[in-house]
Symmetry: C2
Subunit: 365 residues, 2 copies
Amino acid sequence: MTTFSAALATPDLGGLGERVTAALDEFLDDRAGWLGDIGPDLAPVAATVRDFVLDGGKRLRPAFAYWGWRGVGGPDGEEIVRAVACLELLHAGALVHDDLMDASETRRGAPSVHRRFASLHRRAGWRGSPDAFGAAGAILLGDLCLVWADTMLAGSGLPAEGLMRAIPVYHEMRAELMAGQYLDVLAQATGGAGPAGALRVAQRVARYKSAKYTVERPLHLGAALAGGSEPALAAYTAYGLPLGEAFQLRDDLLGVFGDPAETGKPAGDDLREGKRTALVALTLERTDRAGAVTMRRLLGDPDLDAGGVAELREVIVASGAAGAVEELIAERTSRALAALAAAPITRQAHDTLAALAVAATARRV
Amino acid sequence: MTTFSAALATPDLGGLGERVTAALDEFLDDRAGWLGDIGPDLAPVAATVRDFVLDGGKRLRPAFAYWGWRGVGGPDGEEIVRAVACLELLHAGALVHDDLMDASETRRGAPSVHRRFASLHRRAGWRGSPDAFGAAGAILLGDLCLVWADTMLAGSGLPAEGLMRAIPVYHEMRAELMAGQYLDVLAQATGGAGPAGALRVAQRVARYKSAKYTVERPLHLGAALAGGSEPALAAYTAYGLPLGEAFQLRDDLLGVFGDPAETGKPAGDDLREGKRTALVALTLERTDRAGAVTMRRLLGDPDLDAGGVAELREVIVASGAAGAVEELIAERTSRALAALAAAPITRQAHDTLAALAVAATARRV
């Protein structure tokens, strides 16, 4: 099993991750100067965005967007790297808001942004509630990341014609992300509608939050920038949707079984948050009465300890759901690869997207 | 004293407010259909955006943007009305996030968006905390409004050339808004740095949150869409910044002395939130020792009652700060009108922007 970072270092991807990071570095340097001109007290905002965006992330969405462009004949260049790097800023904004909504303490092994602003308040001994200040900082920093993503795309240096073609795709992707996030929050609140309903609900969330947002739309964005044909866009959908679903299913497994040293998140975090994933839905569908009682008792308990995590893991494995999810991942990944084989795209894009499919679904982070 | 709504109904503005509302109605209808296609459980999101955006708002930013366009020779048309209406969606997103950060219970006389989502959760008897669900709903709905604002601008039907010129202005305006909001939150936390520092801090917040965001940038956006000249843009700045400052100073007075029946906000809401406005800064600079003690004791007390509001109002008036702010409003408004008189713009735009200046600074809402 290769981690994604390992795959990213292969010559196939041509150091794209590093080039994306360099483009973000340059852009954020410029924006930090802009914030500094307004006032030195905005320095923590600039520093927090930098740390968050430069220190982590698999650069997966930029990779799909870049190869979406290359696949339909777009040439390599710094302009397209800058354009696709904007997706990391968009994703940063979404994660900052997501961590606040989930009250997550950490992200990528470091304190989450709302925790960072709360600490700033506490250390300075300011008035009012540190947590309220932390929440406000995270809301505004997330908003700023969303705005800066657009700024980076528009200022990428790509011709106006391509940008105008891509902007509707970009808007659609962002609105789908927000809708998917809301459905996710809603599913946690309602707990789905019985086991069968829960699986359907989890799959719809996965479709919008992952399949479209992480894979299909980035590919479409790159293709639209380059003026790709309708058949190429359709092939990207046929490859992207099952792959994105497999990606989310891997995420579900990592949220329960992932190694905190690798994921940067506490063990069993999704269980503590009570996330209604396909993995959870399949467990509820397949487990026996005792397992169902354990799930009801522990899932979503914010104080769940290591013993509780272990207990839930056992139910999930014993029910057969963990194995079933591995099978689903394999099936969806092969379906994506089959669609890719038939796609009217360049040879190099084909080979890289095949490698990306494997890396994105076999990762440990 | 005319309220803004009264001014908006004058023939000078040609029913622009109603046309903006109609454009928003049509756009949101289309978007509600889009959300409905994803799932019927997204209906509360669509309904809440509609209620929030269609039921209120002075349509001030669209008016400035529209007349920024007309002033440099842009023709009337439904495309420009759709383009400027996007500013109401942007503003809605900012207000929804702002109300959450301030923990405001109401907005425009109705429950704030996070309260609405919390009630939805409570009525349905869902699992988890209604307040956490309310916060998540408000964060995502605000994000969605920010995205939809861009979608509406890009899909306005205006030519790509104008949009490409305007987009950098639009991005700058949004980033300035976020920066101004952060400075505002920070000022409430730090309480400013002594009375003199507090006035400087309040003026900087007002510059970004109001002067640029409410007046100057909307004018620039309209002018950029129409391809306006540099001297016209400079004239809009010379008119917009003092007018925007006057607008914020009026807001400061309304936040303390406004009539809840007209503002739709509880009496003295800014005092309860401890907003560090120029009015508060001037009071601290001018009041006697007893007044300073009262201010320290009551300002920012979340449980401040009618008696406390009255006590603070008395200190503010007795210090001379309320009168000084009225004088500042008059001075800034005349400065804006003088700049307008010299602006190289159309006669009709001149007359309407003069009327808008009076309406925006003499309003009671």
